[in-house]
């Protein structure tokens, strides 16, 4: 329920700010805000959120072979 609120909230905030910044011709800022807000909304989505990439999961895949090699 709380996650739903955050998901909708962050998407709305992203879209509103996107158009607000576009009007003031800060195009790159607008695109960046929209991308970040979509990324944030992804974390709060019901089933996809648990599988959405986090630094922990990505680094686990990247570095666990190296870590196993050192700890062997």
């Amino acid at each position: 329920m709380i996650y739903g609120v955050f998901m909708v909230g962050s998407l709305c905030y992203g879209i509103v700010l996107f158009f607000h910044l576009l009007k003031k011709s800060y195009t790159s800022d607008a695109i960046l805000i929209l991308v970040l807000c979509c990324l944030i909304a992804g974390y709060f989505t019901p089933h996809i959120g648990a599988k959405w990439p986090t630094v922990e999961s990505v680094y686990y895949i990247l570095y666990s072979p190296i870590s196993d090699f050192f700890n062997q």
Binding site: I2, F6, I40, A50
Partner: protein, 367 residues
């Protein structure tokens, strides 16, 4: 963010001290492995910290009017510079999520077992986002107010722990293997002075840049002493076997302290101070994240991004390190390796590129 105000070198070094001591003192995982030889890891750690600090200070001194992000772009080129800064940002996010999760885990274990971790993380994020919004000047001044009380309280409490010491914590010496000492020194460095790169991004905001190195070295040495005092008081009063099994050994040591019959549970005050210092840790990380993000993407309107970065930190922390066992395994195995690139290799690369740049400038001037 309220302006880009300058801070003094004393405020900078106090922030460094609070940042480092606030977080590491609670788990003492190196002491669990090395026990009485942990002083060797601490000394190696202090030297490594001073080494990394000298590299970053050297780079900053060559470019007195640029911040470290601009220096990185200038030395490494636009795209490689941005890539390195992005790697730093990912490390920053990893750190802050670990910090928020550790804080909520501590509260869930010790005080509030029925409160959801997400609620605690949300409270911390609201606090840190507001602090970032107010600006660096206010943060360092608040830190300057809190730290002397922390130090006085901590030293007084240590004096009262002293009578509880039952064994000599330094004996028997040199029982650990050399490889264990190296691994644990690296582990300790990862959780303490590897964050100096974060402070590197704040160095351009200090009014007297030539004094940064000397005051920061004092802060690093004092942090080293602080870690030694905590570890050996715990080893001497709790004993080696207990320290291996306890999750928060220093907290358990403090529970032994009683000022006569009328003042007990002194560890509660230290919970409050530890919470505050961990929040300062998170605020500094979030502030630098916002600065570096602005530098990578040339953001012109910074205010909306302060809120969005806070939201990102909350979202990411809610989905990271959910199981405590995973968190500890990650901290032991993956985190020391993942922070090698942004925290050790990045400063070394910057220093090497600075030396090459300086030499080419002198060659051009000479011809």
């Amino acid at each position: 963010m309220a302006g880009l105000e300058k801070i003094s070198h004393i405020q900078f070094s106090f922030l460094l001290f609070g940042y480092i001591t606030g977080f590491e003192g609670l788990f003492l995982s190196e002491a669990k492995v090395l026990q009485q030889d942990v002083w060797i890891a601490n000394v190696v750690n202090v030297f490594m910290g001073i080494g990394v600090l000298s590299l970053i200070c050297y780079v900053q001194r060559q470019f007195p009017h640029k911040n470290l992000a601009e220096i990185c772009n200038k030395l490494m080129g636009k795209w490689v510079g941005k890539a390195m800064l992005c790697i730093y940002l990912v490390n920053n996010l990893e750190n802050v999520s670990g910090g928020f999760r550790a804080l909520s885990m501590f509260y869930t274990t010790i005080l509030l077992p029925n409160t959801s971790a997400d609620v605690m993380i949300l409270t911390c994020v609201i606090c840190s986002t507001y602090a970032v919004y107010i600006g660096l000047g206010t943060l360092v001044r608040m830190n300057l107010v809190v730290l002397p009380f922390f130090l006085v309280g901590f030293l007084t409490t240590c004096l009262f722990v002293f009578p509880e010491i039952q064994t000599n914590p330094f004996l028997p010496p040199f029982q650990s293997k050399f490889s264990e000492i190296i691994v644990q020194s690296l582990h300790l460095f990862t959780f303490t002075f590897s964050e100096l790169i974060t402070f590197g991004f704040l160095m351009s905001r200090v009014e007297q840049p030539q004094k940064i190195f000397s005051s920061s070295v004092i802060a690093i040495i004092m942090s080293g002493f602080y870690m030694l005092i905590i570890t050996y008081l715990t080893l001497g009063s709790l004993g080696i076997d207990y320290i291996k099994t306890s999750t928060f050994p220093f907290f358990s040591t403090l529970q032994l302290v009683k000022f006569g019959e009328y003042l007990e549970r002194i560890e509660v005050i230290l919970i409050g101070i530890w919470t505050l210092l961990t929040l300062i840790y998170a605020v500094v990380l979030q502030y630098v994240f916002t600065l570096v993000l602005g530098s990578i993407f040339n953001i012109k309107k910074k205010k909306p991004f302060v809120f969005v970065v806070g939201l990102l930190f909350f979202a990411h922390s809610c989905r990271s390190f959910i199981r405590t066992a995973d968190h500890f395994t990650y901290g032991d195995k993956i985190f020391p390796i993942s922070s090698l690139l942004p925290c050790i290799i990045f400063p070394i690369l910057l220093a090497v590129f600075t030396m090459i740049w300086k030499r080419s400038k002198e060659t051009i001037r000479g011809t």
